[in-house]
């Protein structure tokens, strides 16, 4: 089991945004999180990477507790450096790309292998060029993010996440900030990853992508999982009224 979340709770001040989420994701599985904005799907995704602290329950990735160490029947919070080390096998792609604007495409991809894994510059560069080639941007290696289109930036961001050789990839609305005609190129790269067997959790509004690529669709609303299952079932024949109302609005 790659990801196991049990009764995950999270509040921002007095507002409880996650009200006990249970979810398991197997290795090689592609799962999409669907739901109206404010449903807590992005927050949950960020909890898996401990970018947000959870207030209750627990999440494990590859059998290791995220953000905590279990000892004597308690969960002790990890130091920032330990949390950083635990994130090595989890890649993340953001809605707003978040590329480092002061570094070129190839430097963005090289950064973590160089300064986290302490690889040699030559090895990091070779790997970075291979990854850029894989996302179709071999010719843009020397470009700064500001010189790239949104779709190109997001593909560099995917290459940058892959450079740490993750076993799990998290995508937080990866196409929501893109012009409509650029969405396809990013989804193509993601489809390629899914076909290679990468475990992926994708927060998205792209129903087509969920239907075509995902093994499972999880529909969330108001901080709870309303229903989950194969895309044919959840997207074509939802069993809950809330799912039906949402799908009518987005389709």
């Amino acid at each position: 089991m790659m990801v196991e979340a049990i009764n995950v709770r999270k509040s921002f001040g007095a507002v409880e945004v996650l009200k006990g989420i249970d979810l398991t994701v197997d290795a090689g599985e592609v799962v999409s999180l669907l739901g109206p904005s404010g449903s807590g799907k992005s927050t949950f995704l960020r909890c898996i990477n401990h970018l947000e602290r959870i207030d209750g329950g627990e999440i494990s990735v590859n059998g290791e507790l995220v953000g905590y160490r279990r000892q004597n029947g308690r969960k002790y919070e990890l130091r920032p450096r330990e949390t950083a080390a635990a994130r090595r096998h989890v890649g993340m792609v953001f809605q707003r790309f978040n590329l480092f604007p002061h570094r070129t495409a190839v430097e963005n991809v090289m950064e973590a292998p160089l300064f986290v894994k302490r690889e040699t510059r030559a090895a990091a560069k070779q790997q970075a060029l291979d990854l850029l080639d894989r996302v179709g941007l071999a010719d843009k290696a020397a470009a700064y993010p500001a010189q790239l289109s949104g779709g190109q930036q997001q593909r560099v961001a995917i290459a940058r996440a892959l450079a740490m050789r993750p076993t799990l990839m998290l995508f937080d609305e990866p196409t929501s900030a893109l012009d409509p005609e650029l969405v396809g190129e990013v989804l193509e790269v993601m489809k390629g990853l899914a076909a290679e067997g990468m475990t992926m959790i994708v927060v998205t509004h792209e129903i087509g992508f969920a239907r075509e690529v995902c093994h499972r669709v999880v529909f969330m609303d108001a901080g709870v999982v309303v229903e989950a299952g194969p895309p044919q079932q959840v997207l074509t024949n939802p069993s809950h009224a809330r799912t039906r109302t949402f799908l009518q609005k987005v389709l």
Partner: protein, 279 residues
Amino acid sequence: MMSTADEPIVRLRHPGRWVAAAVIVFLLVVFIHFVATAPKLRLDLVVGYLFEKSIMLGLVKTLQLTVIAMLVGAVLGTILAVMRLSENPVLRSVAGGYVWLFRGTPILVQLLFWFFLGTVVPQLSIGLPFGGPDLISWPTNTVITQFTAAILGLGLNEAAYMAEIVRAGIGSVDSGQREAAEALSMSPWITYRRVILPQAARLIVPPTANQTISMLKLTSLVLVIGLPELTTTAQLIYGRNFQQIPLLIVASLWYLVLTTILTVIQNRLENRMSRGVRR
């Protein structure tokens, strides 16, 4: 056949600019003529004293004080800024208290305080507090010379201002940058060094150049602890020969030269820092 669409375009003309430029050039010529022909201005003295030995020594002292005080200020200021933005409430309060104290008291008082430290603390020692035995100790007056007092006064004061400049720079870096670095499993230290500070630097450079140019002239305050730098040296000379204006011109010319050099460096740095920024 000529259609109206083919008629030539006439750009907006700016006759007022030409008139203004002519007036300014005329005033400049009048001023230069006045300076060159004023017999009591003693331009010959300006030329004579420009490279005079004590002026040169004062200039070197001004440069030393500026460079060292700014280095102390920038390094300590950056540390203070990172402390103020830390999650650790102890670090935050210590840095906040430092900035409060050093920004809140006059720099003149701080300079004098360090210089006269020996009058209240005759021995500087490393040992156990509350009257415990000393391990090493020095007489304060051998440690606190005019120069170290000047560096302490100027540098520690500057650190408080630099802390605020660096804090503003760090605060302007998009929070997504830190998240992206964290998600790539960078440690907090690597995140600061490779992601946050290089981007903050772009915004820190212009106000820091400002502070450096300001420091260049602020160093003349060390006059109060008897350290002769450029301005003080000029004053010492006109105290003897009563040629105030020529010697003040000598000092001003050197400040202008140094400021010009600093401005060039600032422009170079700004160009370098703007890598990847769309203009």
